[in-house]
Amino acid sequence: MKPTEITRRELLTAAGLYVMIPVEILLAQEPERLPARAGYPTDFNAYLRIGPDGRVTGYAGKVELGQGAMTALAQLLAEELDVPYERVTMVLGDTELCPWDMGTFGSLTVRQFGPVFRAAAAEARAALLEMASEKLGVPVQDLEVRDGIVRERRNPERAVSYGELVAGRRIERRVSHATVKAPGAFQILGTAPSRKDGLEKVTGRAIYAGDVRLPGLLRARILRPPAHGAVLRELDTSEAEKIPGVQIVRDGNFVAVLHPQWDLADQALKRIRAKFEFQEVPLDDSNIFEHLVKNAPPPHTVHQQGDLAVGEKLAQIRLEATYLNSYVAHAPLETHSATAVVQGGKVTVWAGTQTPFRLKTQIAETLKIPEQNVRVITPYVGGGFGGKSASQQALEAARLAQLTGRPVQVVWDRAEEFFYDTFRPAAVVKIRAGLDAEQRLVFWDFYVYCAGDREAQQFYDIPHQRTLASGGWGSNPPGLHPFVVGPWRAPSVNTNTFARESHIDALAAQAGIDPVEFRMRHLRDPRMRRVLEAAASKFGWKPMKLPSGRGVGVSCAMYLGTYTAMMAEIEIDRNSGEIRVQRVVLAQDQGLVVNPDGSRQQMEGGIMMGLGYALTEEVRFRGRMVLDRNFDTYRIPRFSWMPRIETVLIENPEAPASGCGEPPIVNVGAVVANAFYDATGVRLYQLPMTPERVKQALAKT
């Protein structure tokens, strides 16, 4: 493509014809309820191709965010096809090459897409066996496959390789009866081969969306309002234009500075003088909770059983509390980045996104071009955690590429990342519960505002209970939140687990019963009992009455079909108010484990990340202005925080593989709060448990 020179005036005219789309609409979010496994193609050729050399390429609409999707999917493919893992290459998140997918979130890659992918590979293998049978003149039942070569069992000389059978073509044969392997036959699943993305990542060769280099590439920096909803009133770009090589594009509120170098575009951006107008909204991080409770939409009943009034009459001890958590940022280390090029009416966008196929539709709508003229390529993504389900940066890059006719790259700086993040919503949970004369839970009334209803319904055995949920991280009435909120690793479950497990612990303390024993008395599900036992034995849990002064805590959760129990030991500096988590044990039953090392990475990473929302992470804001702009004020976990971590994976290969990327994080808030109570006899009701809050709580006693 030949870059065309465009003068500023022309750009403005072109821009003038352009229709603005408000940012809020562009920030489409993960649907709160996932549709059933639909929309995947039925032709197995969509998922795999076998080269003449026997190398296998797998195709999936999932993306590699660091969670190991590339490795786990390659394992599934290699296992079902009976080819060596090393011979498999995965292509992910390319809308032109890969089968449609809804997006990479909800720990669905192995749990939901995995069976589809496995089935495709199994059918391909069955088809190849039939083809080999005809070619070799040997019945299928007398054939075996090893390393991509089909042989007659009794006469291994008679053999044909996958590569020869396919000869570089599509496989036209279909087999309706193909079945996937039974767990006993696994050779690659359940092992931990070297990660597919490893070599590129340790050599710096791994390409992320901001690393794409194209001839004539311009970097764009975009003028941002000081607050959400602000309108541009005055603009003076004359100083910015003095920097050689700068181009300025304006379209209403959308003003971008383009330059071949990011830092010089940024320098020019800082020279723009702009005045914005916006309405003051009387909200901040301290009064937000009251506002949420007052303005949340009417609740829906998540679950109801027995009769609360009856339960309340039976109760001898009643306990009521309100739990709070602030807005939390995703803060992936890679900021939102994208590179776009328009060529002959076709646009190609490399984007750091969790939702390439939805993005493709959004780009088509934004540029007003047919969807088939849009290709989204997802290179490696530098962390997502739900925050890259929204891909505003890619629409900005595409728009600017269309306006300028040049390839354009958008790499947000850290302040933009904090400003446009789709935060985990601030939330409030109110719980009332009671124990009867035998110290059994008799009623439970749970009301969650704004977090969402996932895992709001508790799993302890309580005869009279009700769970209500109002609002969530999906769609919200305008004005409820001062900025956009969205899914954050294990959406709604961190909030609901913090509240539930804190309250269960408080009830155990009231009852004077060891908190593990108290939970056991109310747990029927054998899988949950088993993980709790496994955690207790690894941790060396000693039965006690709360508070014991030792500073140990426990928390249990169920999410995405995965069972988890966590125990932790903490230390508190009463002068500084700082909590230090010394040791964490996490036991997890996630059914079939595709890659135990991959699961452990997720468990360790989830615990570390969880310490952030438990101890320091909260977004400070005034009205619709976000005050945190970088890692100096928004503090995320670092090396010095490292507790000793021990992980236990329960062997349960007969149960289907469930999610493992999100469940490890959900207990961290509660386990620390419970350990804090055990150490001090004081309960903390608000996340994060910052030094200030700790000191305040301790001062009250």
């Binding site: 490893g198 590129e200 280099r213 170098q261 280390l333 990475q601 570390m608 990340m609």
Partner: protein
Amino acid sequence: MVRTIRLTINGRTHEIETDDQRALLWVLREDLNLTGTKFGCGMGLCGACTVIVDRQAVRSCTTPVSAAAGKHVLTIEGLATDGQLHPLQQAFLERHAFQCGFCTPGMIMNAYGLLLQSPNPTRQEILDAMEGNLCRCGSYHRIVDAIEEAAARLRGGKQQ
């Protein structure tokens, strides 16, 4: 001030005509297409942009290119020699001391700087030296293990 700056990057000498106050990070990424060095915060707060300048680990986002003039710069792209991974890279790879990998070049280069200064660090020294490098994916434990292992291998002199 725009001037010609001469510096050696990964063993090759470059002459770049540029504003000498520009951050080394952007000269590496945008002018020289060395994209292994990452931008994470731009304010010296995350370590993703760490490179070695004359045997010292520095944050290239806050280092003006003028400060590297006449010096030797080593980036992640220059760490492997003759197709042989450096022991740090090898240990990160084997221990899966990364997830998304975005912090990885900075982690490896910062650790490289540490091992230049202190070939036999204690675990606490490793933690202290790495404190300014952030990993949102939480690979911290594996990173420390990988650095310890690489340090041991380097001392064993199996590879250099």
